[in-house]
């Protein structure tokens, strides 16, 4: 019995010791830098080439730039009303956070951050009204703002860029990337991307232009226009939806695709193929189904009351 008690006590002591050690290690790893309100920020930290960088800022701006060094460099100025800036090392990355006093209203002055990071970092930026601009990166990017603008110019492989009421602009991606760009009331613009694209806005215009290589593209808006001004990729699958906005598909040369186009009460205008037919069987709308060239891509476009225009320029 005594021996059993000894074993149990020994095990408990070992467990408690391990927990204490772990807590100490965590505390050490989370050593934080803190800058005071109004002061200029100038901080450098070592960073993994492909580690995670998390940035939280409420108002002002966040500018991220990729570079070839294995460190991050944070500059900028803390806005009046903010509590401090925390830069914490975590086990799998670095967190940069503008901390506000509790129960803050709209009286906080914006904080502008300029952050240089290793090019292949996995970036995650969240802001409320702060604009986000990121460039020269080739890792992954998750950029979200409530009312700020979001702008990304990169070669990232996994991209999410979104804002409720700020404009979203994505330029460039890695090959075979996943690109997700969406907004609620503002415009979304995407160019020079490669891979699988989803671009949406509810009342803003969705635009895709420039040289792209898309295996799948899904563009939609509820009341805004959808403008696609680019080449189609062989084997690509394209879907364009708008309820009351207009859909315009403009191609640099005669496209090589199958087209399935329909509008419930809007007009369809086609400059390079057959004219649309009125669908008498299921509704009052017009439809257009045809093959252009070898039919090596698939294009679907639908509207409820918006017009659809197909043209070659």
């Amino acid at each position: 019995m005594k021996r059993l008690l000894l074993v149990v006590t020994y095990t408990l002591v070992l467990l408690m010791g391990s927990v204490a050690m772990l807590s100490l290690m965590t505390l050490t790893a989370r050593s934080a830098y803190a800058a005071d309100t109004g002061s200029a920020i100038n901080e450098t930290r070592p960073a993994k080439a492909d580690g995670s960088i998390w940035v939280d800022n409420v108002a002002g701006s966040v500018k991220i730039r990729g570079w070839d060094k294995s460190e991050i460099h944070v500059t900028g100025t803390l806005g009046a009303g903010t509590k401090r800036l925390d830069i914490s090392n975590e086990s799998d990355g670095i967190e940069i956070r503008v901390v506000l006093p509790e129960h803050t209203g709209h009286d906080v002055e914006g904080t502008d951050l300029v952050i240089d990071v290793p090019r292949s970092s996995r970036i995650s930026v969240n802001t409320v009204s702060a604009d986000i601009a990121a460039s020269t990166l080739n890792g992954t990017a998750l950029l979200k703002s409530v009312s700020g603008e979001v702008k990304l110019d990169s070669s990232d492989s996994d991209i999410t860029a979104s804002s409720v009421s700020g404009e979203v602009d994505v330029h460039g991606s890695a090959a075979n990337a996943h690109i997700n760009a969406h907004a609620i009331s503002s415009d979304v613009k995407v160019s020079a991307v490669d891979g699988d694209l989803s671009a949406e806005s509810i009342s803003g215009t969705v635009t895709v232009l420039g040289k792209n290589r898309l295996t799948r593209a899904r563009l939609s808006s509820t009341s805004g226009n959808v403008d696609f001004n680019a080449e189609l990729t062989k084997g690509g699958n394209y879907s364009f939806n708008s309820t009351s906005g207009n859909v315009t598909l403009a191609f640099p040369t005669t496209p090589d695709a199958r087209f399935d186009i329909s509008s419930f009460s809007g007009n369809i205008d086609n400059s390079f193929g057959p004219k649309p037919q009125r669908t008498s069987e299921y509704g009052p709308g017009t439809e257009l189904h045809f093959v252009s060239g070898g039919g090596n891509a698939q294009v679907n476009a639908r509207t409820l009351s918006g017009n659809i225009s197909l043209r070659v320029h």
Binding site: T140, E200, L304
Partner: protein
């Protein structure tokens, strides 16, 4: 000496190897995937909570829509037929109105974003009603069904964005 089919089968079974080694070692690939999954801290806890809340909201709205009385769409040839709920009456507005009221009472949201969310929720609501009305008249129109499906997806997206925006402006400062 004649052998029965059972004996032949036993012999054949006996000749089979006891175990088969895979053509190549699968463990490095599995280990690499586990390591990748462990190292992924993306999306972070905050967004996981937001996603969970949004998912619950969307599921609740969907259940209310599907279970509320109304004629079911009569489309046999559409992939969307099973996912497009029937047109709804005024009772359907309750979760949406609650959600809108919750949004309107959030004073931490930037006014521009708050207005954008509320306006676009109304816009989606109106578009859904218009599409439902058209679908009621032409229940076999596959394109209308697809448009309605897309509108529901956008509504779910809006609710998700709204939840995340609310969390971003209220919870973040206490973390």
């Amino acid at each position: 000496m004649n052998t029965t089919p059972d004996e032949k089968l036993d012999k054949a079974l006996g000749r089979l190897p006891r175990s088969i080694e895979p053509e190549h070692d699968l463990w490095p690939g599995i280990a690499a995937r586990i390591a990748t999954q462990r190292s992924r801290r993306w999306p972070r806890t905050l967004w996981s909570y937001a996603g969970a809340v949004a998912a619950v909201t969307v599921i609740a709205v969907s259940i209310l829509r599907v279970t509320a009385p109304g004629p079911a769409p009569r489309s046999d040839d559409s992939m969307y037929a099973i996912t497009v709920p029937a047109p709804q009456g005024p009772a359907d507005d309750t979760p949406r109105n609650l959600f809108a009221a919750q949004l309107a009472s959030n004073h931490n949201l930037p006014p521009r974003a708050q207005q954008a969310l509320l306006n676009n929720m109304r816009l989606l609501d109106d578009s859904i009603r218009r599409t439902q009305a058209a679908l009621k008249k032409y229940p076999n129109d596959v394109n209308l069904q697809a448009l309605l499906f897309n509108l529901y997806e956008q509504e779910a997206q809006l609710m998700n964005e709204a939840q995340q925006a609310q969390i971003q402006t209220t919870v973040r400062n206490t973390l």
